[in-house]
């Protein structure tokens, strides 16, 4: 007897398909509000900006000018100063904002008393609005203020904090003050995820502190390291708040950052230049983040193989 297999084939697939289709629709429905908002306020206008950056003078003159706007921006002295300052600041502040919190997290990983109190102390600056402490910064970094008083007691001449090369140092300090706690928590979380048995074995084998850090803890922290670096770069752009609240929209050239430049371009109504600058900035950001991700992929692979 020949059995017709087709006859016996169960067909739940169709039912599941239907259910899946419905669930899928529902899941898009949940996504809908956020997606519309992001489309409306971020994505669609972003494409308009790309368009604007190639146009003569958007609201009135829509003639295509190619890369002229980009050249105008690049040739602008203010833009150059601003980029240079921002690059200097980022290269100085971001590594410090990674290393110092890492050290603090490692220290807090040791069995020491008052651990949670220390965590609270380092995290508190994150909660405090910039506007509230800006007064104190002004007092400390005033020409006759505490900062110079300390320098004088160390036999160093007074420094004009805001109007000299030292301005960069001041911003780095303000940035670190606010962001160290945040990064420290990220590292602490990563340290907490290092498998305890691995560490115990290392202790039993009398591994040195450096070995334990480099060969075990650090390997488990690479993804966090990347994340902290990216977040520090992102947050480094927020020093605009400190600069703006300290010195307003037109600080000295030592403190004139890319953010300040962008901010002032809004007032000037140069939409085409503003757009070009925004595109340049976002391309640079995407490149930096892409490179960091690639680096992490490489290092991460290395660990998985090891």
């Amino acid at each position: 007897m020949k059995i017709d297999l087709k006859k016996y084939r169960v067909k739940p697939k169709n039912y599941m398909d239907k259910k899946d289709a419905k669930s899928k629709r529902v899941s898009w429905l949940f996504l809908f509000p956020s997606l519309t908002g992001v489309m409306l306020f971020f994505l669609v206008p972003y494409f308009i900006i790309i368009f604007y950056s190639f146009i003569m003078n958007p609201p009135t003159d829509y003639s295509f000018v190619g890369f002229k706007n980009y050249f105008t921006v690049f040739n602008n002295a203010a833009f150059r100063t601003a980029s240079l300052n921002t690059i200097k600041f980022t290269f100085l502040a971001v590594p410090l904002a990674v290393v110092i919190p890492l050290l603090l997290a490692l220290l807090l990983d040791i069995k020491i008393p008052f651990k949670s109190q220390f965590r609270t102390a380092f995290l508190t600056p994150l909660m405090v609005p910039v506007a509230s402490v800006v007064l104190v910064w002004q007092v400390i970094f005033h020409y006759n203020g505490l900062g110079n008083e300390i320098l004088n007691s160390l036999n160093i001449d007074s420094v004009d904090w805001f109007n000299s090369e030292q301005a960069l140092f001041v911003i780095v300090v303000l940035f670190l003050w606010k962001n160290i706690g945040y990064n420290m928590i990220l590292f602490m979380a990563a340290l907490g995820s290092v498998p305890r048995d691995l560490l115990e074995v290392a202790y039993l084998e009398n591994a040195s502190g450096w070995n334990i850090f480099w060969n075990i803890k650090f390997r488990y922290m690479t993804s966090t390291l990347l994340f902290v670096t990216i977040m520090s770069i992102i947050n480094s752009f927020k020093v605009f708040r400190e600069i703006f609240l300290l010195k307003g929209a037109h600080p000295t050239s030592y403190m004139y950052m890319l953010q300040t430049y962008m901010n002032n371009k809004f007032d000037a109504l140069d939409h085409h230049l503003l757009s070009a600058a925004a595109i340049v900035m976002s391309i640079v950001m995407i490149i930096i983040i892409g490179v960091l991700f690639l680096l992490e992929g490489r290092v991460g692979k290395d660990i998985e193989e090891a």
Partner: protein
């Protein structure tokens, strides 16, 4: 009688004791060092608070020249030192009295901040929870691309994302109104990223069990995913709150009139005549986030930790 073995044991004990002593010393040094750093970290905050208890004349005597500018807008360098004081000569709450009951300006700005920030926090979280559920269920190729776009948007500095925000606000004619701050804030992709990352940890078996018991998609959300993400929503809310409570970029661009600025910007525009009030207003302004910190520190720490996404 002491044997050789006894000698060795004694020696080993001595060594261990020495090692322990060294360890203890190390810990003491580290603790002291950390305490010192912690004090430096907290000092600006403490200074603001204690100085808010000074009387107007005392502040003027101490810091008058910091906030005074000469006719050319430049700084005047008087040889007198600026006295940084931790403890006021005479504690007085007169500054608070003035801020709270006499000078309505600051109170108005404070409320302006509240009005701007609270709706953003609430609605951003609500929109984000829904979106996270959308990302959590049925992750297709398209959704992966969308989620990636969200991440890139989240990583962009304000100066970049504000340009599209500004153009749309202008197009919609909502510039110079609160909507120009509210709407981009509500749809900011930050909390979507955070809550989605958290939701992805909810075990699928839980969802399956609920579905077998007859939950439809809405019920899976309202009965399982939403309640389970509550902790994450709170921590996310705190993070969003502190960022917007501290906002400078948006109001500076979206409002033409300086009178519309919230306290986060307005505080720095304080003029010489009112510097006595400045510290009191500053203290009042940081009171709310510090209070939230006091009660929600664990949530905040958890929220930051999710962001790092250990094994995410």
């Amino acid at each position: 009688m002491t044997t050789k073995a006894d000698k060795y044991i004694k020696k080993a004990r001595k060594l261990r004791r020495l090692k322990r002593g060294k360890e203890k010393l190390k810990i003491a040094i580290i603790t002291l060092l950390l305490a010192f750093v912690a004090c430096i970290f907290l000092s600006p905050i403490v200074l603001t608070m204690t100085n808010s208890l000074m009387s107007q004349s005392e502040i003027k005597a101490n810091y008058g020249q910091v906030f005074s500018t000469d006719a050319n807008g430049g700084k005047t360098y008087i040889s007198k030192q600026v006295e940084l004081k931790f403890i006021p000569d005479m504690v007085s709450v007169s500054q608070y009295y003035t801020v709270l009951f006499k000078s309505a300006d600051y109170l108005y700005k404070f409320w302006k901040s509240v009005i701007l920030v609270v709706p953003i926090v609430i609605f951003q979280i609500l929109v984000a929870v829904a979106a996270s559920y959308g990302f959590y269920r049925f992750s297709g190729k398209l959704k992966t691309i969308i989620f990636f776009t969200y991440i890139i948007l989240m990583l962009m500095p304000y100066q970049v994302t504000l340009v599209p925000n500004y153009l749309v606000a202008k197009g919609l004619g909502i510039i110079d109104t609160n909507w120009a701050i509210w709407l981009p804030g509500i749809f900011s992709p930050f909390s979507v990223y955070l809550i989605t990352k958290y939701m992805k940890r909810i075990p699928v078996s839980l969802i399956e069990a609920a579905e077998i018991d007859g939950c439809n998609d809405y019920q899976v959300f309202s009965k399982i995913c939403f309640p389970l993400s509550k902790g994450c929503m709170i921590s996310c809310g705190i993070l969003v709150f502190i960022d917007y409570w501290n906002m400078v970029e948006q109001p500076v661009i979206m409002y033409k009139d300086e009178a519309d600025y919230p306290l986060s910007v307005f505080l720095s525009k304080i003029n010489e005549g009112e510097i006595g009030l400045a510290f009191a207003v500053a203290t009042i302004y940081m009171f709310l986030p510090l209070l939230i910190f006091l009660y929600g520190e664990d949530y905040l720490v958890e929220g930051i930790s999710y962001q790092g996404g250990v094994k995410g």
